[in-house]
Amino acid sequence: MAKAEIISWYRIFEMFNFDAFHMYGVIGSAVILGIIGVQLLKKTKAKSLYGEALHLNPKTMGVYRYLLGGILFGLGWALVGACPGPMFVLLGYGYVPILVVLLGAVMGTFLYGLLRSKLPH
């Protein structure tokens, strides 16, 4: 993640301004290969190393939670320029202020746990 600069705040800013192809290339090529691979795995009924069915984690259908949750996530993603994975990589880089972002992310997760029954899903 670090080496393709997708942990860079600037790259996220650039993506949301449609100024460069880089991020679209990274995500797009991962998804296209992912689609091809997952379809092949399904066709061949591939099993994991432990002989179980693959854990593809299908999501239950709905609109509100994905759209509203997605928008909130996007607001945060663009502001701090990091989604959860890169936050940890940046910590390894020694950027101390990312600890505050991580603390916020844990607090946000906790808040969701508290409010979950009151939110539309």
């Binding site: 190393l49 994905y66 996007g74 663009a78 989604c83 202020p97 746990g113």
Partner: protein
């Protein structure tokens, strides 16, 4: 010896590597989704006393925490050994936009000093940006049931409609932030 790893990697190397990580996790009977760790951390901190949402089997999530440890270690190794220069080459249009927002030295490092400078930790506005941004990511990821890895990569790879809706949401939120809200706060 590691010199060939040092320049910034192009998208057509990074994207396929991400897909490879996802397939490796599937092969080991897991799935690729990072934000679940935040839930596990809540559970470890005792959040299960406040909400059933955190009553999860932490042991089952152990691999996930290993991924986090690996990410931190990967960042450290990359910083120590593979990245002599952390400058990011940005498009001219982006540099100009940032200058207009008041961001100097755009691309001088991975992160802008205006948000991540150490002095931001001693100002209320600086701390708020970091904390609120983090909370939005954490709350939004759990509300939507996944983040960039779980929805955009794993979900879209499995052609899941909910993930597509979530990714559209990510973009609506991101565009609102960059085009409407950031000009107000910076």
């Amino acid at each position: 010896m590691l010199e060939f790893l040092s320049p910034a990697w192009p998208w057509y190397v990074a994207g396929p590597l991400i897909a490879l990580v996802m397939f490796a996790l599937l092969y080991f009977g897991e799935n690729f989704g990072v934000s679940n760790n935040l839930r596990t951390m809540c559970a470890l901190a005792g959040a299960d006393r406040f909400s059933d949402f955190f009553k999860i089997d932490v042991k089952q999530q152990a691999w996930n925490l290993v991924f986090v440890a690996g990410s931190i270690l990967g960042g450290f190794i990359s910083y120590q050994f593979l990245t002599p220069d952390v400058a990011v080459v940005l498009s001219a249009a982006t540099t100009e936009r940032l200058a207009n927002l008041g961001f100097a030295n755009a691309g001088a490092g991975y992160l802008p000093q205006e948000i991540f400078g150490i002095e931001q930790l001693t100002s209320i506005s600086g701390l708020s940006v970091l904390l609120v941004g983090g909370m939005l990511v954490g709350f939004g990821a759990r509300y939507a049931g996944g983040c960039t890895s779980g929805h955009a990569i794993s979900g879209l790879s499995n052609l899941q409609i909910p993930s597509l809706i979530a990714v559209v949401g990510f973009f609506i939120g991101g565009l609102l932030m960059v085009h409407l809200i950031m000009p107000l706060i910076f």
